[in-house]
Symmetry: C2
């Protein structure tokens, strides 16, 4: 097992003999009888010096080793002062090729090109497994990995229980034709759109529960915020109302922002991201759906009342409300999913709110009170056409919960890919997903 990483070699403070480096050639420069390799591993970069006289008849072969190759180097570590800076290099004694690089593609995987630029999208998706090693792509993925860990830590520190929820389910938040389905031993099952059905049952046991897993939407959107498969955070909370849910969602985001500024410092700096913590300080501004529509009308945008906020609507809100995080609350009944509770004073509105990020990053979170009354639930299911015998059978356990001591409760949903994209200010949600599945892009992740 590899024990010494480049970071460790750089950290040593003395001359070291016969040190072993396992890594990849990021770049090489030839100066007559000397070759310089920049060798990288997952922890850092070190300069390796190859001198012709040490390799004799092997020199021609060594000269032809291409950048990207995986090598094992044994050599002596030296320190030298150049332009008043301490530099470290390893003078190679032996080298061995551990992984050949035989491809002839440009841009080279480890080279610094604008990998997130739209013109590369198709190319990178087709060659995804080669470009994960790109330094910019690595920064985004490493940041996401840290984000996911800290998110779990937040919930553990706040006494939430992780409830695993199935991908294969018969209960869908939206219409059947917006879900992927297949035949499971003779029965039609779907890929989950949201695990609210499973988490609501669990709050009767644990009160505070959450889940982070893939969710699926059979959408054919080509926007820069949609994937067919995405990482979904769901939180469900007993004895909570809309105010509680909004506070909790704000607390999650603010805490994650505070954490990531620290532990993601290296990645943020490398990607050149300016991160303004003040942006995330609760409480966020709120407007009602109705007021948002009034703004659209004033701006001359003919928006059909009752629909979800469009990308155009979101960009108008961003502009008019000075690029802040905004909650749009009390959406109309017909726009929302059936488990969401109606506003007691006006049943045409729903006790829910969507969180809109600034600068066009779009909707990143939603919160909603859920229905406790069986009567109200069945009414809402009827409105959504979910009242056929077959549908009632599918949602049987969910309906039955309303007779099983279900307390007042509500949930939070967050699109983790979208939030990480927003934190990193990247052009597309795919940029923070190692193997994104996009509509219309044919490749084999």
């Amino acid at each position: 097992m590899k024990k010494i990483f480049i970071k460790d070699i750089l950290a040593k403070d003395v001359f070291c003999r016969d040190i072993e480096i396992l890594g990849w050639i990021e770049n090489k420069r030839e100066h007559g009888a000397i070759i310089f390799w920049d060798v990288v591993d997952s922890t850092g970069k070190i300069q390796v010096l190859l001198i012709k006289k040490n390799f004799r008849e092997k020199w021609e072969k060594i000269k032809n080793i291409p950048s990207e190759t995986c090598v094992k180097i044994i050599g002596d570590r030296h320190c030298f002062i150049k332009e008043r800076q301490k530099n470290i290099e390893v003078i190679a004694k032996t080298i061995e090729i551990l992984g050949e690089y035989k491809l002839n593609i440009t841009p080279r995987p480890r080279s610094l090109f604008p990998i997130f630029d739209r013109k590369y999208t198709n190319y990178i998706l087709k060659n995804r497994s080669l470009y994960l090693r790109n330094p910019k792509q690595m920064a985004a993925i490493s940041f996401k990995s840290k984000f996911l860990y800290e998110l779990n830590r937040y919930f553990r520190d706040n006494n939430f229980v992780f409830i695993e929820s199935p991908v294969l389910t018969e209960m869908l938040l939206y219409d059947d034709d917006t879900a992927f389905s297949f035949n499971f031993h003779g029965r039609k099952v779907y890929l989950t759109q949201c695990c609210t059905f499973q988490l609501e049952a669990a709050i009767i046991a644990f009160e505070k529960v959450y889940n982070i897993t893939p969710s699926f939407r059979a959408e054919s959107s080509r926007s820069n915020r949609h994937l067919n498969e995405y990482t979904h955070l769901k939180v469900e909370l007993a004895f909570a109302n809309l105010e509680d849910l909004i506070s909790l969602a704000e607390d999650i985001l603010y805490n994650m922002a505070k954490k990531m500024v620290k532990i993601g410092e290296k990645e943020l700096e490398f990607l050149g991201v300016k991160f303004d913590l003040c942006e995330f300080k609760p409480s966020f501004r709120r407007i009602s759906y109705d007021d948002a529509v009034k703004i659209f009308n004033k701006e001359g945008y003919r928006f059909q009342y009752g629909r979800n906020l469009s990308e155009k609507g979101v960009s108008i809100l961003n502009r008019k409300l000075r690029n802040k995080l905004i909650w749009v609350q009390y959406p109309p009944r017909r726009a929302e999913a059936f488990p969401f509770k109606a506003f007691p004073h006006n049943p045409n509105l729903i006790m829910a709110a969507d969180l809109i990020a600034p600068y066009g990053f779009g909707e990143i979170a939603g919160v909603a009170e859920k229905i406790c009354s069986k009567k109200e639930l069945l009414e809402r299911m009827t409105e959504k056409g979910k009242n056929t015998p077959r549908q009632l059978e599918r949602y049987k356990s969910y309906i039955q919960l309303r007779d099983a001591a279900l307390p007042p409760h509500g949930g939070i949903g967050m699109g983790i890919d979208r939030i990480v994209r927003y934190f990193l200010k990247l052009p597309h949600v795919k940029d923070v997903v190692p193997y994104p599945r996009l509509f219309g892009h044919r490749w084999n992740p």
Copy 2:
């Protein structure tokens, strides 16, 4: 938002007036003009005393409130000494029903019955969402939640990067007919069996990577170790050989055992589990597949050489090798998946090992070196019938990696549900999964 939990009320050390309890009635006892309720929430249990004179005309109604009901109680907290023990109770002043319980089912969800007994399997699966609140079921799920968090912590502490991997994929470890498939915008996709394909590409960037997500097997097994959807840990490691992988897997298990004995103490005690840490102390015993087959033959069990170890085989090994964790290494080539590397000195054997748990808990982990050579990979694909033009297209990126500076490497796979079941000594792997999908059980998780 609920701020005060029963645990907090119990922890207070003084008389408190007008305390609010939000919880569920676990049990009730009536003694004339007094009713005792045991009220629980996710943190503990407290005795609530209801006195007839405090409720007057509402008394008859209160008497009829069934156990399981979700209630809000306001009352005064008292301390009293009974049988030399300090006891705490709350004398209720007002009560309010927050979630009605209208079901008439036995056993009652929160009652202590042998919920993991086989005779209840069908019944519990059909009513899963009601029985998550059962104290024994809660203990198992809470233990699993802690296990998952600590597992992530282990990898973070050891500098692994979490690589999200898609559920929808075209690359399968085993035959197509052992996977679930469906039509994705006109193209056949499968539900992942193993994310080795995606993780191997990522080691060229991060060297040490892991993933914990659902994996799927379209198996029709009715054994107590198989689910169609299960939680799969995959680790992939650059510059690692079989010895390294075995050491790392042992370290993961030993560390998790040490952690869970501490942080899962309450759950282990409640479930009456005797947990022997010595069982997990590295190094575990090893035997070769060939020697295992010799033992079978000696025992009169006619085992077909080249097949995977059967449940009967595993139970013979358990018995003969004194119920220890055992690695069975160097399985025959034909039994193993195509990405696994052959033993250099005997290409009929594979550089892999399976970890068998004692007491019939079966295989819980596997490790394998992976193929780096394109030639060897194509040979193995041909052996497995994966060499048609369509198949070569599906695995194109995986084959291409062999020309893209892939270092020597290998991976570990662990069935998290199986390991947690083994830690908790439960009869079936479904017992540690909130919504298990079992072959032959028709319900709607």
